[in-house]
Amino acid sequence: MSRTRWGMAAAAALAAGWGLAATPASAGRANDTLNIVEILPLGSLDMYYAGYPQTEFMSDMLFDALVDYDPGTKSIVPLLAKSWKVTPGAIDFELRDDVTWHDGQKFTADDVVYTLGWLIDPASRYRFKFNWAWIKKVEKTGPYSVRVETNGQRPYDLLRLTLAPMFPKHVRGVLADTTEFGKHPVGTGPYKLVSFNEATNRLVVVKNPAYKWGGTTKAAHIGRVMMSTIPDMGAQVSALLAGKADLFRNLPADQAEALAKDPRFTFSVNPSIGTTYMWFDAAGRSGNKAIANPKVRQALAMAVDRGALAKIMSANQNVEQPKNLCWPDRIIGCAFTKTEPGYHPAEAKKLLAEAGYPNGFSVHITAYVGRLSQLAEAVAGYFAQIGVKATVEPVTVTTYTKKSLAGQIEMTVAGYTLGGLPDVSQQVTFFVSAADYSGDPELKKLGAAMDAEMDPEKRLKISSQFYDRIADDVYITPLTAMPHVITHLSDLDINSHSASGYGVGISDIKWK
């Protein structure tokens, strides 16, 4: 008996000790702390190694690029560079001379030469390296001036540099293994690192008191920001209910609406520059013969009720729906005359019969996990109505990329937010250069021409040919708008017009 009591006492002591050791998550307006919860782990804070939306959001707080994009005025604004001059073949930057790194060292031209130099160094190995192949050479032209030589000239070169955070040469440049930097980042941004615990995936940053070079696009309103990972949507909701989370994205719109019936919570809808779409293997790489048939693709494009599908992405929110893959008013260089074919199931069935598939066929839809695979499931439901048997394979972005490169995808139901870069060139890269499923050299040529055209008017003309061709041959057909739904405390004010691939920028969030 006495032994049992001892055991219980020991267990209680252990439990008490444990309880004390764990720091309670102190969040909320009272201590000016914003607690953001993500569904995917951060892994690293180095954007070049980990180009994920959640990394981008954090990277934006910790680092600065040479220039920034202001979605309000739709223009490029100064950041670490105070001015620049663009000529064919080169961009010359004048840098600010009053910028300091979080460790107190001064930011100079050497850091820019180091960062951009590393990006184009043949020895560097990281994802999306091809994004920087346009940079030929980077050289220092003074202590605070840099010349970036480019291979030719594209209309979006500067825009792309808004997504190139500058890294300190004296920290990252001396590491034997540069991947280490992403765990102990030192930047110039409006927030600086307090701690990043890999095991629990919890990151804490505080406002950088020295920060004065951000302008309006990078203003910091909140004193302390924490980010942690809860890999399950249900658990995220319960964390919100339990007061352990203040803001998260990814929650499907109808769940956000249901949650917002509780006055403590609300949600903001950012229309975003992306769309959801069906992307077909027109080239026949995957071996699905039916999908390679343009009539079949046309039938599938007509089999879905886009108006009803929009309910999945936007629930009862009134969100403008896309007519083609890009948004003329939100994306630079976007133009088209052809639009999606509308919902005509009877005609779709007729087309299938004409194409030689009166009894339908089987198709495998690859979709990103989460609300997009729900969208894919609904698409499969519409396909079933015209006799097409579809199964959905929900995959993560990494697996998707792997399959896509290997040519294993029959069709995709997915969404793309252009990595937060509002220029058609992103769609050219994504849909044509990186993974080509059209098998159409003419489309490739149009894409390349659109990429290189410096005259905005001429560029729009090519763009129109490009997107019309995609619509005519039904390589890709738009489904719905892809609003970012941000679920958060009613205490928070979210200005949701940012172009960020994350859905919201740090300067868009403040206490009411």
Partner: protein
């Protein structure tokens, strides 16, 4: 005895070797490793270069030998997703999984053994039937669903307990129950069967005839003998719990190796999956081996 141990040791080593081949093939079958390592937009020349750097252009058996030698040095490779060393990833996460498995095992034993004992004292009584029914229920309830129900009832409706995470002991309560229930039935049945057998044996009858107190007979004499097989099964169950934690850890968002494995599978991060697979399998083999040693020590008749 020594021969028996040596023999079992040999079998265990053989099993571990086979498991390592399974793990190795799993990673190789997962796709072109060199292409994945080289990254997106890599040219065939880049891929060939990476293949050479990582020794992926060598004959398969050499790659296997290299890899096993690495394993023996504790080098489990690097994560394709984060670039971290896999050994480090597992080391930071294993604590949660071990804690959860231990708690669940203890909970399972604490419920199952007394229940089995009580049921055995009155076979076919309502108490016995109730205990057996409980075992049938415990066997039939899907663990992940039970976990969700616990979350709903205790986390959302009653708000008594936290429902996700693994940062303090309160967060372990619900997952422990969800996982513990799954091992309770087999231990209960085993205790009951063992107790019935022991209670009908001659020496217990003799003890009864000698006028020893019934409780003392039950716990001091009968249970001590009946519990031996339970101990060894418990060791095996612990191994199974490590593998079973994948589901419960994802339901409760606990940062253990089960969740790590699940996420790694999602991210096509097969070096991590492979390492966890081998870790869990080896854990199981070692525990089974220990269980057999215990059994053999206690019951010299056993010679498999």
């Amino acid at each position: 005895m020594r021969r028996f141990i040596l023999r079992r040791l040999l079998v265990s080593l053989l099993v571990i070797l086979t498991v390592s081949v399974v793990g190795f093939s799993l990673l190789r079958l997962s796709g072109n490793l060199a292409a994945v390592l080289a990254g997106e937009g890599a040219t065939p020349a880049d891929i060939a270069k990476v293949a050479h750097e990582y020794g992926l252009d060598q004959p398969l058996y050499l790659q296997y030998v290299d890899w096993v030698l690495g394993l023996l040095r504790g080098d489990l490779g690097k994560s394709l997703f984060s670039g971290d060393s896999v050994a480090h990833l597992i080391a930071t996460r294993i604590g949660v999984t071990l804690t959860l498995a231990t708690f669940s095992l203890v909970l399972g034993l604490v419920i199952a053994i007394p229940l089995g004992v009580v049921a055995a004292t009155r076979p076919n009584s309502w108490l016995d039937r109730g205990a057996l029914m409980l075992a049938v229920f415990g066997q039939a309830i899907p663990g992940f669903w039970f976990g969700l129900i616990l979350i709903y009832v205790f986390g959302i409706m009653l708000k008594w307990l936290p429902i996700s995470g693994a940062d303090n002991w309160r967060e372990f309560v619900l997952p422990t129950i969800a996982l513990g229930v799954s091992i309770m039935p087999s231990i209960m049945r085993l205790t009951r069967a063992g107790m019935i057998e022991v209670l009908s044996s001659d020496y217990i009858r003799a003890a009864r005839a000698a006028g020893l107190a019934p409780l003392s007979i039950l716990f001091k004499h009968a249970l001590r003998n009946a519990i031996l097989p339970v101990v060894s099964v418990a060791a095996v169950q612990f191994g199974l719990l490590l593998g079973g934690s994948v589901i419960i850890e994802s339901v409760f968002a606990m940062n253990g190796i089960g969740l790590l494995a699940y996420q790694a599978i999602g991210n096509a991060d097969f070096p991590v999956v492979q390492a966890i697979l081998i870790f869990v399998s080896v854990g199981y083999v070692v525990l089974t081996f220990l269980a057999e040693l215990i059994n053999a020590r206690l019951d010299p008749r056993i010679r498999l």
